[in-house]
């Protein structure tokens, strides 16, 4: 028996030598920090494998960038450091490859994905504008802007298709309007700045071409939505949804009122009982005083 116990204890000693490597432990730790911060409430859709693959299988540059940005998020609260960067800046790859990738991974619904891609398109246009203002719009920075615009645009088209499948016309219409305003404003602004700052025609044309492409697509979506609205009157459906929401709110209010009434009734009972108790004590005292 003693020998067996000795052998079993040996397992304990030997097994203690097995552990995660420092690198493994720190990688998983970073994933968990990001996961716990980005998903305070569980949506049930995220794939842990996706996060794992993102950190472990992406190239070295992305991995290093990921660590840098995580340290920034954790330590100094300057997580927005990269957010203000422009193409050609040192932090720009972190903004595009890390911040935006993490945002993509934590966008679970078609609605949030579409909103994110719209936001990214707006960001790229703002970056082009700022570069033009600073006279830094050249062949290299222009390529980065155009590539970013193309990528987000493809993503947005895919998201919009999913929203159409879900018949979420309200969001499509809203995003379309936001994008239209942004595209029109930045087109105008870029054309003006191109003249002011003597930017090479080729560099600005390329971006304007992309803006025009997107605007045309946007207009087509708007036309489709308008014709669909005429045919099926989807806005009526939306009103109907609002009505349902209102009814639910009223139901909640009723429930709250009922709760309050039952509380008042309880208080009344307690007061009555206390009064009774006081009366009894008074009677007892009077009886004692009676000779």
């Amino acid at each position: 028996m003693y020998k067996i116990l000795e052998k079993l204890n040996k397992i304990n000693i030997e097994s203690k030598k097995i552990s995660l490597t420092k690198e493994e432990k720190s990688s998983v730790r970073n994933i968990l920090i990001s996961y716990s911060k980005k998903s305070p409430y569980y949506s049930g859709i995220i794939s842990s494998r996706r996060l794992f693959d993102f950190v472990f299988l992406s190239n070295k540059k992305v991995l290093i960038s990921a660590f840098i940005i995580l340290i920034l998020i954790l330590g100094t609260g300057t997580s927005y450091a990269a957010e203000g960067s422009l193409p050609g800046d040192m932090l720009y790859p972190i903004k595009v490859n890390v911040n935006e990738q993490i945002a993509h991974l934590t966008s679970f619904t078609s609605e949030s994905k579409a909103k994110l891609n719209t936001k990214i398109i707006k960001k790229r246009l703002e970056e082009a504008d700022r570069l033009a203002s600073k006279g830094k719009l050249n062949e290299v920075t222009k390529d980065k802007i155009v590539k970013g615009l193309e990528k987000a645009s493809v993503g947005l088209d895919k998201d919009l298709l999913e929203l159409i499948d879900k018949k979420d016309f309200k969001n499509i219409s809203e995003l379309n309007s936001i994008l239209k305003i942004s595209l029109d404003n930045h087109k105008k602004s870029l054309e003006e700045k191109a003249e002011e700052k003597n930017i090479k025609k080729d560099d600005i044309d390329f971006i304007l071409e992309k803006i025009n492409e997107k605007s045309e697509k946007n207009n087509r979506v708007k036309e489709d939505l308008d014709s669909f609205e005429e045919e099926s009157g989807f806005l009526e459906d939306i009103d109907y949804e609002d009505e349902e929401k209102e009814i639910r709110e009223l139901e909640i209010n009723n429930f709250e009122i009922e709760k309050e009434i039952s509380g008042l009734e309880r208080d009344k009972r307690i007061t009555e009982e206390e009064m009774l108790k006081i009366n009894r004590e008074d009677i007892r005292k009077q009886l004692k005083n009676t000779p």
Binding site: I4, K7, L8, E14, I18, K25
Partner: protein, 167 residues
């Protein structure tokens, strides 16, 4: 019992228990990569639970509990045979990860082979006791059994191991 209810306490629990959970998964799955994946999933699922319910009161027991469920899922995914054969390659696996461990498999090989042959109820408690170094009380909390039941299983498990040795 250690309560976890914030990001900070969750990460602290990871720092404290990740190696122990990894070791437990590694001995039950006999595969380093799978064990590593399970560890990550264990902590993610735990965080999901904390974010939904607000807190976990006994984090150590909870982590082992989640790990056990995920290990069962892994068993279902693959045909779990000749795990000891796989275990024999463990040393090579560890070195290939650039982590030279002094883990001496030959020292404990015989006894692990025997534990592997036991019924799951005995195998589980022996692993909890001798690999994870948990007390019968802690094992009872994880397996949702009484401490007495666990002590009986441990004694019977040890007895069975001894019988195998006699053979």
């Amino acid at each position: 019992m250690e309560t976890v209810n914030t990001n900070e306490s969750f990460i602290k629990a990871y720092d404290e228990y990740s190696d122990a959970i990894f070791r437990h998964c590694f001995f039950k799955l006999s595969n380093r990569e799978q064990a590593k994946d399970v560890v990550q999933d264990v902590f993610m699922k735990t965080w999901d639970y904390i974010s939904r319910k607000g807190e976990v009161q006994n984090i150590k027991a909870f982590l082992y509990h989640v790990a056990n469920n995920l290990i069962i899922d892994q068993y279902r995914k693959r045909k779990f045979d000749s795990s000891i054969e796989e275990m024999k390659e463990v040393g090579i696996d560890i070195v290939s990860n650039g982590h030279k461990d002094s883990f001496n498999f030959s020292e404990i090989r015989n006894i692990l082979e025997i534990i592997e042959k036991l019924e799951p109820i005995y195998k589980d408690v022996l692993i909890f006791r001798y690999v994870d170094d948990l007390s019968p009380k802690e094992i009872a909390e994880i397996l949702d059994e009484s401490e007495n039941v666990i002590s009986v299983r441990l004694n019977r498990g040890i007895k069975k191991v001894r019988e195998f040795f006699k053979e």
